[in-house]
Structures are given as structure tokens and as C-alpha cells.
């Protein structure tokens, strides 16, 4: 598996990294010098030993021992040197990668990141890049070591005694061949078992997550034994795979160790026959383990290398992910009474799904209006809001237009400067309450923040907080209820008077009715003098709207003022009657 891996362990993109070739050259030279040091070290150690073997006095080994010591130190200093030469490059590459990843996250936007999972992206930026760093440190030097050192040693042995050199030369491909064969066999078996594996190892987390449910059903105590027995069967499965997976390591170990033994035995016979002297024989014996060392090192670090390679592939995949382009098509503008937004037969299809989530949507909005979007769940309300916000791009270009200018999509910097997006759970940053409110406004004064909070109905709550507006909220700090979170989002809208468009995506869906009623009073004033899109399935909001879009299975089935729609007795009326509760 290891050596087979070594072929695949090199991501071709590795050599495209800036400056890579130059570093490979420099390191190649250093590895070469190191290989020479290894040979010198072996040679002079052997000389010292042979002198003692000849029963010579201690003075005879002073010089060889000193040369041995110097070569030995050189060799290990060179290791440090190689690392130090390479490290700035690796550090810069991985640092740049981390920063590009951050920039990429920003440019990909929330929809794409959501798809990959927040946890995945964050882990990638931290641990993933660390693994890339380890990978770069390992793979470059180890590859050079493997492609220079053994061959230099082999050439040297060839000059001392060609028979041994031939033996060592032949055994090398044999080792690799066996490792590949055994590795491949193990790999295919491991692949087959992998699925079962995942299942078993996820079982534990699955059980922990469902603990509440188990407790409700009175099964939680009994399940402890189940946890144990599943884990035990996991162990048995793992062991049966390991038994095979470790065979390729065994093959490497077996052939290298046995080769050394064989070399020793043959040298012994040759020495007896007087075909060779002790010094060359001893030198070969000392060098034999060094000949195999690079490949063994490579195999030992196989897993770290493999993880690093996978991490790098994952990072590069994200970095090469296509992003929305043409974000600057629209010139700067301010949404006002005369502004116009058009959707012209827009379709949107989620990747890997056949049926479009939005189907042939045409609507024209002008000036400041309050537009309700209603429909059953899955009808496309949120998708429409996301498309208007530019988080999703229509299937075809030039189907959307602002002020008559046709655009590829609405992910336009100039458009995004004009709206605020308020979802079901507005995100609260780990920051002070004041910073959260003024997130969109750079130069907000304390007074204006206070006023905005007042208008959003936050004042009473703020007074109850230990540090008032300076209280830390968000993840890991004071928890904020859903109603307060909506009010904070509302305060953002009150504070930022430049943004005239408000996108609401079911802002009250999860709130209790009392909180919603109180919140409604405070939301309504912000609707004035704004263009409002309000997706909801709480029907009482419709009474506040100027215009209603009725969605059904991705289609815009009806649009008009609430009164027009009520008179029509079509989808709108049907939807209302389905949702509405009866009289008490």
C-alpha cells in the first residue's frame, strides 16, 4: 500500500506551487551531500572497527573516529538544514493557502458554504492547512531522499564489491512489487469493508445524539450493552482488515531485514574463502540498512503523508471552485421611488436536482412597496428570496434587471449595498450588542445605536443586562432568545438608513404567538419608506402587504394586491382556507 501510495501521493499540482522547482534543486544538492556524509560515516566507522580487529592500539582509531563523528554530525545537521531551507517556503505556501481560503469563503458566499458544511470549512482552514504543511515538509524531502540516497550508496557498493550491489539492486524492485501486490489486495478488501466501518463508527455518535429519545422510550439503560457489543463487532471487523493491511508493511520489513541478514551471511562465506577483506565487507554491512532507510522512512510516514495529500486536494478543490463572476456589473445606485427590479421568466435549479426550484418566475417591482410571499413549505419562497439577494444565480443569464439594466445575476456589490436580509434566525456575532447592531454601519454613534435599539423595542431588555449595550452576545456568551435576535436585526435596519430594501425570510416562524404579536408592532414602522420582501406562512402579515406573490411548487401562481387576490377566489383563497384555523 505504501509504495503504491507513493506514486499517488504526489499531487501533480504540487509542482505548480510558486518557487517549488527552485527549492527542489537546492534540497536535491543538500540531500546529495548528506548521502556522501552517510557513506563517509560508514566508511570511517568501519576503518576504526577494523583497526581494533587487527588489535591495533587506541591511537590508531582516533583519526577515523573523528572523521566518523564529523560525518555523522554533518549528516544530522544537514537534516536540520534541509528542514530550515524548506520551512519558509512551506510556511509561506500554507499561510497563503489559508488566506486564499478565507478570501474564497467570502467570495463563494453562504449558499455554497452551507452546502459544504460550516464545520468542514472551519476544520479545513485550521487542521486541513496544518496537514498540508506537514505534507509539504514530509513529501518533498522524503521523495528526494528516496530518489538520491539509495542509488548513491548502491554506486559506492558497486565499486567495492559488485556482487552485493547487484543483490541489493535486485531486491529493491522485488520489495516494491510485493508491497504493491499485497497493498492492492488489502486496499480492495479495505474498500469493501469501508462502508460497514463508517456505519459502525458512526453508530456511537448516533446513539449519543439520540440519547434523549432513548430516554423517552425507557431504553437508554439497556442500550449501554448494545453500545458495547457494536463496538466489539467493530473491533473484530477492524482487526480482520488490519491483518491484511499490515501485510504490506510486513513485506517491507521482512525483505529489508532479511536482505541485511543475507548480505551478512554471504559476506561471511566470501570472507572465509578470502574473496573479500574485512574492511569492504564491514562497510557494505554498515551501509546496507542505510540503503533501505529512505524507503522505510517513507512507509512510516505514509499515513501523515496521505492525510496531508487528501487535505491539500480538498483545499485546492475549494480554491478552484468556480465563483460568481461579474459582481461589479451594476454601477453604484440608491434604491428610490423610481427604481425598478425585474425578473423575466427566471428559472432556478439546485445542483444535482432535476426539477427546478423556481420555474418561470416573472415579476416587476417598482419603488417602495411591501410584498408578501406566501406558499406551502417547499413552494420556493426561500429560494426566491435567496435569488433576489444574489445568493443563488438564475439558470440563465440576463433574466434579471435593475433599473432596466440586464444582469447575469443579482450577486452585485452595488445591489447588496441596498438591502438587508433578515432570516428566520438572524446570525448574532460573538461581539458586543452595540457591535452587532452597528455591523452594517461603520461610523454609527453611540446615540444612534441607542435610538435604533429603542425603536426596535430592545431598551427594556438592554437595561436588564449587566453591561447594557456593551454586553457580549453570540456563541459562547449570553444567549439571546429568538425574539430578541429578530429585534437586533430590526435595530440594524433602523440604524442603516441607506439600505432601502428589506428581505425577510420567515422571520417569525419559530416565535411564540405573544412574542410575535409584540414584535409585529415594532416591525411595522420600519416598513415605511422601504421596499420590503416578506416571505411567511403566518397569514396575519398579509394584511400589512401592498402586493402578494403566491408560490406553489416553484411557480408563481398568482400575484396582486390582497384584495384583488381575495376577489379572484383562486390559489390565494385556497391556500388561506387550508392554513386558517376554525372559529372557536
Amino acid at each position: 500500500m505504501q509504495v503504491w501510495g507513493s506514486v499517488t501521493l504526489i499531487d501533480k499540482r504540487l509542482f505548480d506551487l510558486p518557487g517549488m522547482r527552485r527549492y527542489v534543486m537546492i534540497l536535491g544538492v543538500l540531500v546529495f551531500i548528506q548521502a556522501v556524509a552517510i557513506i563517509v560515516q560508514a566508511r570511517y566507522l568501519s576503518i576504526a572497527i577494523v583497526n581494533l580487529w587487527h588489535l591495533q592500539p587506541i591511537s590508531s582509531i582516533v583519526v577515523p573516529t573523528c572523521i566518523f563523528a564529523v560525518a555523522f554530525l554533518c549528516r544530522h545537521l544537514l537534516t536540520v538544514w534541509q528542514n530550515r531551507v524548506l520551512f519558509p517556503f512551506v510556511e509561506k505556501t500554507s499561510g497563503d493557502m489559508r488566506e486564499s481560503l478565507m478570501a474564497k469563503i467570502f467570495r463563494l458566499g453562504p449558499a455554497e458554504i452551507d452546502k459544504r458544511g460550516t464545520g468542514n470549512i472551519v476544520t479545513m482552514a485550521l487542521e486541513g492547512i496544518d496537514q498540508v504543511q506537514t505534507y509539504l515538509m514530509l513529501v518533498i524531502i522524503k521523495m528526494l531522499d528516496m530518489s538520491i540516497t539509495p542509488w548513491l550508496i548502491l554506486i559506492y557498493i558497486l565499486f567495492i564489491r559488485w556482487e552485493q550491489a547487484i543483490f541489493l539492486f535486485i531486491i529493491f524492485p522485488v520489495i516494491i512489487l510485493f508491497m504493491v501486490i499485497l497493498g492492492l489486495a488489502a486496499q480492495s478488501k479495505a474498500d469493501r469493508q469501508y462502508e460497514g466501518y463508517q456505519h459502525l463508527s458512526n453508530h456511537f455518535v448516533d446513539t449519543l445524539r439520540g440519547l434523549s429519545t432513548l430516554k423517552q422510550l425507557g431504553l437508554s439503560k439497556r442500550y449501554a450493552n448494545n453500545v458495547y457489543s457494536v463496538s466489539e463487532s467493530y473491533r473484530k471487523e477492524t482487526m480482520s482488515t488490519l491483518r491484511i493491511a499490515l501485510t504490506s508493511t510486513f513485506a517491507l520489513d521482512f525483505f529489508t531485514t532479511l536482505s541485511i541478514a543475507v548480505v551478512a551471511v554471504f559476506l561471511g562465506f566470501d570472507l572465509m574463502d578470502g574473496k573479500v577483506m574485512l574492511l569492504p565487507a564491514l562497510t557494505i554491512l554498515v551501509l546496507a540498512p542505510e540503503y533501505f532507510l529512505p524507503i522505510r522512512n517513507f512507509a512510516n510516514d505514509y499515513h501523515a503523508t496521505l492525510n496531508g495529500k487528501n487535505a491539500m486536494t480538498a483545499v485546492l478543490d475549494v480554491l478552484n471552485q468556480p465563483e460568481m463572476k461579474q459582481r461589479e456589473e451594476l454601477p453604484d445606485f440608491k434604491w428610490d421611488q423610481d427604481s425598478k427590479l425585474e425578473l423575466d421568466h427566471v428559472n432556478y435549479t439546485y445542483p444535482e436536482v432535476k426539477r427546478p426550484a423556481l420555474n418561470d418566475i416573472s415579476v416587476t417591482i417598482k419603488g417602495m412597496k411591501k410584498i408578501g410571499i406566501i406558499g406551502a413549505s417547499g413552494s420556493g419562497k426561500s429560494t426566491l428570496i435567496n435569488l433576489i439577494g444574489g445568493f443563488l444565480s438564475p439558470d440563465k443569464a440576463n433574466q434579471v434587471a435593475i433599473n432596466g439594466q440586464r444582469l447575469p445575476h443579482l450577486d452585485q456589490a452595488a445591489w447588496q449595498q441596498n438591502f438587508l436580509y433578515i432570516p428566520q434566525n438572524p446570525y448574532l456575532f460573538h461581539a458586543t450588542l452595540a457591535d452587532n447592531i452597528s455591523f452594517y454601519v461603520n461610523d454609527a454613534t453611540d446615540q444612534s445605536i441607542k435610538d435604533a435599539a429603542e425603536r426596535a423595542g430592545l431598551t427594556r431588555w438592554i437595561k436588564s443586562l449587566p453591561d447594557g449595550l456593551e454586553t457580549m452576545i453570540g456563541e459562547g456568551a449570553r444567549t439571546v432568545s429568538g425574539g430578541q435576535a429578530q429585534r437586533i436585526a430590526l435595530a440594524r435596519a433602523f440604524l442603516d438608513t441607506d439600505r432601502k430594501v428589506l428581505l425577510f425570510d420567515e422571520p417569525t416562524a419559530h416565535l411564540d404567538i405573544e412574542t410575535e404579536a409584540a414584535l409585529k408592532k415594532d416591525i411595522l414602522p420600519v416598513f415605511n419608506d422601504h421596499l420590503v420582501f416578506f416571505a411567511t406562512h403566518r397569514l396575519h402579515w398579509i394584511g400589512e402587504m401592498d402586493y402578494v406573490l403566491v408560490m406553489d411548487h416553484g411557480r408563481l401562481v398568482e400575484q396582486g394586491t390582497p384584495d384583488e387576490l381575495a376577489a379572484k377566489n383562486g390559489d390565494y383563497v385556497k391556500l388561506r382556507s387550508e392554513m386558517e384555523a376554525s372559529d372557536l
Binding site: 572497527i49 458512526n202 439520540g210 434523549s212 521482512f254 570472507l271 425574539g483
Partner: protein, 579 residues
């Protein structure tokens, strides 16, 4: 050292298992020792072999034994290593099984049947990771270290028995590698680890914060702020990594330097003691060649040791789990069938809280009654439910079923309460198995009936695998409404007299919500139902509505009465139906 003692002072996670699987542990250590012993012996023997052969003895008999031994050690080393790897993995996985069970039991004791979010899931994942850390503690730190020490003792005693001065030198020189440097690594890393943990944690939380709030960043157009926010921790992380690497490289160099000194010591010793006769001189090469393979296990001891702080945190965290266990109440069975649920003047405050969450609440519920409980978040509804089922014990007041305290009925709880909450969990197995959890003795036929009753028969039977369909991770094969209905089927099988509905419809749209509620109340019409809800849809199903405000009940009555008499209720109801 003090920290080490503290870590293991009340340890129930590491030491007990070392004792439990003592036999296998000794085997692992023996095999590990033999691996390196064979490696050293191979070179030792080979050195002797060629030295002897170079004397060109008259007969092959003289080198016969070393020739056989060379092959034997050559085969022994990889074989020992192979078996050692298998045994150590097997040992560790055995322990993991025990760990999982133990972790599960610890968490189970504290888990509540009433839950409001999946956040606990993250904590549990951390704990699951901790177990893996302890796994690595054995494989990467404990085993290599102990094996290294065994070999160290062997070398020191072996050489010392030939010459005690050289033995002493070995003790010192190799001691630097196997004792001093690992200790130094732990000390250096202990300091750095703390710092590193802080910075990484900061980076991690900042980045999560940024990514979760990405929409706001994007719309605000604050690209540069977004990028700059992470520059500092990125730089600090880079610096730490650099320090870490430099430290490791120079430490490895120092280890090699000690190896060099050891080698020279042995050469000098050989020069002084083995040059008297030819046969003695044959041993020089043996000792000199054996040194490199013999010290190879020492090279990574320091690295293993420097990982200790990570493991320590994990060990401390899992040990923390066993602390503050509550003394169990004596459990009894319920006499007769459910007649009355009394909540008598109950007050509750969390141990670390600053105010009463539930204040002097009293109510009595009889079989068949349907009660709805409303109120803004944070008014104590879920605390009330936890008290009701016995996951929490009231500070004052009583909660009794048929006059027996709920706290004493925990063993029979599932025969008293059925619970349907916001996110009922479906386990990653088949539909059949999931529903069967309601009553493990139910027949397939009964399960199918329950599924039919909740209206999923047609859907399930239209699937290719029908009742054997896998629900996938957390039940994602099915929609929110379908998951709720499968859970409802579970509750039907469970057949408990009191059903607690804990906002089961909060994430459903109004049409699905209405359908689900109609079904729930139709199927459970003989049961007692306590329903916590966030709005008034379906309120006509209940006999009694209670509003909760700051731990107390305020408005209460039948929905019809309240609608007639209470303007506030009327206003809310009308709002909820879209007027």
C-alpha cells in the same frame, strides 16, 4: 509531576483498564521489546559473523551458529513487529469498547428526556474525540515509551554487567534521550500547548462566527474587515508552528548527538578491553553495529511525550464526567393504573442559577384531560416538563402520580410518559427498527398497524425496501412531518397513559402542522395530553389552556371561555389565524 498526579488522582478511565487487560498489555510490551531486540541482535550477530569469518577459520562450523542466527533474527524482527502491531491495536480497540460503554453510561445518567436543541450533540462529539485521544495515548505515547525504557534497562544492565563504568555512562547518555528530553518536551510543550490551545480556539471560534455570519459579511461588503480579522491569529498560529518545528528539529539533532557519544564510548571501551585477543576483538564490530538499531526506538519517545498535554485534557474531561453524581432515589412500581397527576406548589431553581425558574406552581391532571401550555421562550416551560417527568427534582413542593413521587417512578417512566418533541431522533437503521423502539416486544404486524395509523403506510410501502428502508443519518431520508409521524407511531406502540407534546410542530409549515395535530389528537384521544406549544393553531383540541409567564401560570381556562372573556386571548387567536 504534580499535574500528572492530579490528572490521575480520581482517574477512572486510564488506570483501571491497564489493570483489566494486564495480560494482553504485557504481551504487547514483550513483543515490542522483542522487535527491537531482534533488530539489534541481527546487527550484533552479523558484526560478529563477518569478523569471525574474516579470521578465515579452518572450518565452516565456526560461523555456523551466527549464520543460522542471522537468518533467525532477520525473520524474527518483522514477525514480532507484525504481531506486536496487531496485538496492540486489538488491545486498544478492546479498551475503546469499554470506553464507549462507560462514556455512554456517564452521559446517560445526566441526559434529559426533554431537549430543546442539538447543541448537546457537539459536546458529545468532543467526548467521542476524547476517547480517540486516549486511544492514541496508548499507541503513540505509552507503548513506545515503556518499550523504550525496557530496552534502555536491558542495554544498561547488559553493558554494566561487563563493565560497570561503561554501564554507568550508558545510563547517563541514553538517559538523556529516554528520560531528560521527554521530560523537557512535556515541560516546554505544557507552556506552549496552553498558548496554542488559546490561539487555535480563538481562530476556531472567530472563523466559525465569520462563516456562520457570512451572509451578513457579504451584504455589508466589508471584505477587508473580514480578511483582516483572521490575519492576526493566522500569523500567531504560523509562529507557533515554526517554534514547534524548530524545537523538534534541534531535539532530534540532540538525540543523534547523544547516540554519537554513545557510539564513541563503546568504541573507546572496545579499544581498551577487546583488543587483548583475536577472538575478543571479533566482538568490537558486534557492539558497534548493534548500537544504531538498538537506539532506534528511543528516537520518537520525546515526540510521544510532547503530545501528553493533549491527552491530559481529554483524560481530565472524561474524568470530570463521573463527578457530582446524584444519590439515587429508591425506585418503586406504580400501584394501579394512572388516576391522577398532582403538581403541588412546586418551586425550582438551577443549582448555578440566580432566580427561581418555576415558582409555586400547582395543578392537578386527570386521565383523559388535554392541557395546552403557552408562553414566550425562557418562561420555564421546558424546566416544568423536566420536573414533570422527573429529570429534575423540585426544590420545594411535590409532583406525584397516584400519590407516589415521580422521582421514585423513574424505572417505570416509559410506561407512564410518552414524549413527542421538536426533533424526535430517528436512528440510523431501518424504519421497522426505529418504530419498534416504542415497544421492543411488538410484532411486525403491530408495527405495521402503528405506521398505518399515522398515515405512512402508503408512503413506506411505495419505497423499494418498504419497512426495511434505511432512514439514514438522523432520519434525513424523511421530511420533518414524516419524521414526526414515525415518532408518533413509536408513541402509539409505547402506549403510555400520559403524552407530553413538546412543541412538536415548531419547524413545520401550517398545513403540515394542522394535519399532524389533527392526527395526534385523533389517535391519542383516550390519553392524557400535556402540550407545550408556541402558538394557537389547533388549540381547539384541548380542554384547558394555561399561559406561563416568569415561572407562574397567569391566564387559564378552556379555549372557548378564554376567547369569549379575555380580549388578550382573542387578539392572539385572531392574529394566529391571520385576521
Amino acid at each position: 509531576m504534580k499535574r500528572l498526579k492530579e490528572t490521575f488522582a480520581n482517574d477512572t478511565w486510564v488506570m483501571p483498564y491497564l489493570r483489566k487487560y494486564k495480560g494482553l498489555l504485557i504481551l504487547v510490551l514483550f513483543l515490542g521489546f522483542m522487535t527491537f531486540f531482534s533488530g539489534g541482535a541481527l546487527m550484533f550477530n552479523s558484526g560478529y559473523l563477518i569478523s569471525e569469518a574474516a579470521r578465515q577459520p579452518s572450518s565452516i562450523i565456526y560461523i555456523y551458529v551466527p549464520v543460522v542466527l542471522a537468518r533467525a533474527f532477520g525473520i524474527a524482527r518483522p514477525s514480532f513487529r507484525y504481531v506486536e502491531r496487531l496485538t496492540s491495536h486489538n488491545w486498544v480497540l478492546k479498551i475503546v469498547s469499554d470506553f464507549r460503554k462507560k462514556l455512554y453510561e456517564s452521559v446517560e445518567k445526566k441526559a434529559s428526556a426533554i431537549q430543546r436543541s442539538h447543541q448537546t450533540g457537539d459536546i458529545l462529539s468532543i467526548l467521542a474525540d476524547d476517547i480517540e485521544h486516549i486511544e492514541n495515548l496508548y499507541l503513540r505515547t505509552v507503548f513506545p515509551m515503556v518499550i523504550g525504557w525496557l530496552l534502555y534497562l536491558f542495554i544498561v544492565i547488559g553493558v554494566g554487567s561487563l563493565n560497570w563504568v561503561v554501564g554507568l555512562l550508558m545510563l547517563l547518555l541514553l538517559g538523556v534521550i529516554v528520560i531528560i528530553l521527554p521530560l523537557a518536551s512535556v515541560a516546554t510543550n505544557g507552556v506552549r500547548e496552553y498558548q496554542q490551545h488559546q490561539i487555535q480556539h480563538q481562530f476556531y471560534t472567530n472563523l466559525t462566527d465569520e462563516v456562520l455570519g457570512l451572509g451578513d459579511w457579504l451584504i455589508s461588503g466589508r471584505y477587508h474587515d473580514f480578511i483582516n480579522l483572521q490575519k492576526k491569529p493566522i500569523k500567531e498560529i504560523a509562529q507557533l508552528r515554526r517554534k514547534d518545528h524548530y524545537y523538534q528539529w534541534w531535539r532530534s539533532f540532540l538525540v543523534q548527538f547523544m547516540v554519537l557519544l554513545t557510539t564513541i564510548t563503546l568504541l573507546v571501551w572496545a579499544a581498551n578491553s577487546f583488543t587483548a585477543t583475536k577472538s575478543l576483538a571479533n566482538w568490537v564490530a558486534a557492539f558497534a553495529l548493534a548500537i544504531f538499531p538498538a537506539v532506534s526506538p528511543f528516537l520518537n519517545i520525546s515526540q510521544g511525550a510532547s503530545e501528553w498535554p493533549v491527552y491530559r485534557r481529554s483524560i481530565e474531561r472524561v474524568n470530570q464526567l463521573d463527578k457530582d453524581n446524584v444519590t439515587p432515589t429508591k425506585q418503586v412500581a406504580l400501584k394501579a393504573s394512572f388516576k391522577q397527576l398532582d403538581i403541588d406548589n412546586v418551586t425550582f431553581k438551577y443549582p448555578d442559577g440566580d432566580r427561581d425558574i418555576v415558582k409555586n406552581i400547582s395543578m392537578t391532571i386527570h386521565p383523559g384531560e388535554k392541557v395546552a401550555l403557552l408562553g414566550p421562550s425562557g418562561t420555564g416551560k421546558s424546566t416544568f416538563l423536566k420536573l414533570l417527568v422527573g429529570d429534575l427534582i423540585p426544590n420545594t413542593g411535590k409532583i406525584e402520580i397516584n400519590g407516589q413521587s415521580v422521582a421514585a417512578l423513574q424505572n417505570v417512566r416509559s410506561s407512564l410518559y410518552g414524549i413527542l418533541d421538536q426533533q424526535p431522533y430517528l436512528f440510523d437503521t431501518t424504519v421497522m427498527n426505529n418504530v419498534r423502539l416504542g415497544n421492543v416486544n411488538a410484532t411486525d404486524e403491530e408495527i405495521k398497524q402503528a405506521i398505518a395509523a399515522v398515515g405512512l403506510k402508503d408512503l413506506i410501502e411505495s419505497l423499494p425496501d418498504q419497512y426495511d428502508t434505511e432512514v439514514q443519518e438522523a432520519g434525513k431520508r424523511f421530511s420533518g412531518g414524516e419524521r414526526q409521524r414515525l415518532s408518533l407511531a413509536r408513541i402509539l406502540l409505547q402506549d403510555a397513559p400520559i403524552i407530553i407534546l413538546d412543541e412538536p410542530t415548531v419547524s413545520l409549515d401550517p398545513i403540515t402542522e394542522k394535519k399532524l395535530l389533527d392526527r395526534v389528537f385523533a389517535l391519542l384521544q383516550d390519553k392524557t395530553i400535556i402540550w407545550v406549544t408556541h402558538h394557537l393553531a389547533g388549540i381547539n383540541h384541548v380542554d384547558q389552556v394555561r399561559f406561563m409567564e416568569n415561572g407562574r401560570f397567569d391566564m387559564q381556562g378552556s379555549p372557548q371561555e378564554l376567547y369569549k372573556q379575555e380580549p388578550r386571548f382573542r387578539q392572539l387567536y385572531d392574529l394566529d389565524r391571520g385576521r
